[in-house]
Symmetry: C2
Subunit: 325 residues, 2 copies
């Protein structure tokens, strides 16, 4: 039984807890938000924690397993019994995930860390921690959500038919009924729009976000996004990062996807033929399913690596995720 911890209990963390609940191979033993944490070796209950979080604003209010703390991550690392953490934390600020990784390194904790980071620059900060992670006995898998993650891995598989990769094009469609359940994610998307950056998007009030979405009828169209699929495929030796492009359409007012999320891998075969493999996600699969499923699949694969004494930083393009029952 793999003991799993969650850092972050916003939209993504809550979805992750729901994905985890029915798994026979994993048990949810710890969770931290920015005001507190909760931990229990015998397992935490999703329904109870969701209620407490919504009513009181932190999992730290859980009795008797919760504790309020202004350094909840540091505390949960020390106190909880966890084999692997899914870092379901906001992507912003851009240095956040690397800062959290450093907390794990400094704590002396050994185990598996998985993130669903999106930005190239955020993954690059983790790459700089390669040696420290190895020495600390931590197996860290980065970019393990939907894109990067599921689609990057599919691209790495698709590339196998070709002698040379010409381009990898990821186009995602996301539909959410209500953007307020994904406040952080939507701000990350806005940061990719022309005229915006991470700082400006983070500083926006909910009213300002709402006003922007009113102008576009709730639709965000994103092109040439800074997405870590590029550095991940480059690191895997598949193609240089400038051959990878990521874009998409987010409908913030409709759970139906505006288009089918897909990755196209175009290359030249050994016979000189140019062709394209396509991996398309079913429209009925949500962002939460396509992020959290892979994240736990990579966490399980990370546990196998860790047990074999294989530490350091890996990306979703290098490791085959394992299916979690």
């Amino acid at each position: 039984m793999i003991k799993v911890g969650l850092l972050g209990f916003g939209g993504l963390g809550q979805a992750a807890a729901r994905v985890l609940a029915p798994k026979g191979e994993m048990i949810w033993t710890a969770v931290a938000d920015h005001k507190g944490y909760a931990q229990n070796k015998a397992g935490l209950d999703y329904d109870t924690l969701i209620k407490i979080y919504h009513k009181q604003g932190s999992v730290g209010f859980l009795a008797p397993d919760g504790i309020l703390s202004s350094h909840s991550i540091q505390d949960v690392i020390k106190q909880a019994s966890v084999d692997g953490y899914f870092l379901a934390l906001p992507n912003l600020p851009n240095t956040f995930m690397a800062d959290v990784a450093r907390q794990f390194i400094n704590s002396g904790w050994r185990g598996v860390l998985v993130d669903a980071l999106k930005r190239t620059s955020a993954v690059e900060q983790l790459l700089a921690l390669q040696d420290e992670l190895q020495q600390a006995g931590i197996t860290y898998l980065t970019g393990c959500g939907a894109t990067p993650g599921l689609l990057t891995a599919a691209a790495a598989i698709a590339a196998q038919s070709y002698a040379e990769i010409h381009n990898v094009t990821i186009t995602f469609g996301v539909g959410i009924a209500n953007w307020e359940a994904y406040r952080a994610t939507i701000r990350e998307d806005i940061a990719h729009l022309p005229g915006y950056d991470v700082e400006k998007a983070t500083a926006m009030t909910d009213v300002e976000v709402e006003a922007l979405l009113n102008e576009t009828n709730g639709i965000l169209t994103l092109e040439n996004m800074e997405h870590a699929d590029d550095v991940m495929l480059e690191l895997a030796g598949i193609c240089s990062r400038d051959r990878v492009s990521v874009g998409g359409v987010v409908d913030t007012r409709n759970p139906k996807k505006p288009l089918s999320t897909n990755v196209k891998v175009t290359g030249r075969t050994f016979e000189g033929k140019i062709s394209t493999h396509t991996f398309t996600l079913g429209d009925e699969t949500s962002m939460a399913a396509n992020v959290c499923g892979p994240a736990f699949g990579y966490l399980k694969a990370g546990i196998s690596l860790h047990r074999r004494g294989i530490y350091g930083l890996f990306t979703a393009a290098e490791v085959m995720p394992q299916f979690v029952r």
Copy 2:
């Protein structure tokens, strides 16, 4: 530089040699057919060997690096300097690949073996060698062609979005201009037809194969084939083997594929939604590209495992192939 050997120099082995030729990370140092072998640490030349094979019937005629031998596999294992072999051997007889694996085990050779086996029962024979392969220091990757192989790996990735997998359906289209370049492969396909089995198909003369193909206008339609994708996905814990089905259409008189090869993975997400992910191969990619590319990608991944001291049997659904430049 990875030193690569090829066992078998029929249609598949020759394509493999062509795929290998431009690779900077791999050097082709050995090849064996059923009449002889050739080996050279500095590398073998594709054009020279193809000519010799077609003119004289065996790579053993290559001067000065070839030797004729009635136990060419045993000899090449002993004489050649090879880090990993691609077993580009006929799938028939069904016990052949396991017999070859036993020759490697008994020889004391240590390294990586990769096959592109198709049948479930052939892969099961290799599974029985798990402990012996581990003790021998051999990292054996089985089912690493197109299907099983590329499509099985894509299915394993696609499965990650789902809490439960309902079915995996692989449908392939193959077009070849002239079946006589793939005598062994076509007999394997015929063995899957109603009223045929492996023995009967193997015993057919070229004239009999030609007569059968005349009846069907050169088209072979295959359903519910015994394909190892089922046992591989079961072993990876993704679904029970009865949920995996493989079928296809082979046009033996037209290089254009009669349909686009694809795998569909249908499952239920954690929210209870039923959906289907689809991975589709570009029509311009040949069977040779889709088999040999992955085979060498898995060989490279196998070398990484072997260097870390990880031995034994693995399938294409468990290991992420690496891109070979």
